[in-house]
């Protein structure tokens, strides 16, 4: 069973600060997804990265897929209170059934005004 380890587990910062959260594994992934979950809601897909070394930007969010496709990072520039939420990484299961996703446990981000 492939595992996705996310760090840090909790992060509390002030508005305007920069931050990076990580998603690591010993397995190689064909692709990797990042979701954000706000309190009381379901996760929402932010981005999918598919190529080793790929960098994708979504406004103030920058996503990077590791060269070896075993890890990924999410960097937020000038964080705002609206960025508060649980950030989850997920990857399709390897082997016979890639119609299932494995999720990391998430990083709970709080951005204080």
């Amino acid at each position: 069973t492939q595992l996705l380890e996310q760090s840090p587990q909790f992060l509390s910062i002030q508005e305007g600060e920069n931050l990076t959260v990580y998603c690591n594994s010993s397995s190689v992934f064909s692709s990797l997804q990042w979701y954000r979950q706000e309190p009381g809601e379901g996760p929402v897909l932010l981005v999918t990265v598919v190529t080793g070394g790929e960098v994708k930007k979504l406004k103030r969010l920058t996503f990077q897929f590791g060269d070896a496709r075993k890890d990924s990072s999410l960097h937020i520039t000038a964080a705002q209170p609206g960025d508060t939420g649980l950030y989850l990484c997920a990857a399709p299961n390897s082997g016979g059934s890639n119609y299932k996703l494995t999720f990391g446990k998430g990083t709970l981000l709080t951005v204080n005004p």
Partner: protein, 113 residues
């Protein structure tokens, strides 16, 4: 845009009672999923479906059953609820067939007393 409704959104029940949660999608997506989310455990797959009457177990399927008699509806049943099944339950559909991106419903908060 894909749409998912889950019902009920909140439920309190007693140990030993049967409970059925409903997930309804507004489009004809083939794959549907039931997850539970608990602190410290993240999102864990309970069961999934790859078509009408076609279902399979996830990593935490004990104590749960599912049914899918129509493309748009996926039911999760707890035959005899236990306190360990107190959780938030999310339904999801696979909207991206290449990388298995998923779209989540708003969740059902279930409390078993």
């Amino acid at each position: 845009d894909a749409g998912i409704t889950q019902s009920p959104r909140h439920k309190v029940t007693e140990t030993g009672t049967p409970v059925t949660l409903r997930c309804h999608q507004t489009e004809n997506h083939r794959y549907m999923y039931w997850y539970r989310q608990d602190p410290g455990h993240g999102l864990r797959l309970i069961h999934y479906s790859y078509g009408v009457k076609d279902t399979d177990k996830g990593e935490v399927s004990d104590g749960y059953s599912v049914s899918r008699s129509k493309t748009e509806d996926f039911l999760l049943t707890l035959e005899s609820a236990t306190s360990s099944q107190t959780s938030v339950y999310f339904c999801a559909i696979m909207t991206g067939t290449v990388y298995n991106e998923q779209f989540f419903g708003p969740g059902t908060r279930l409390t078993v007393l």
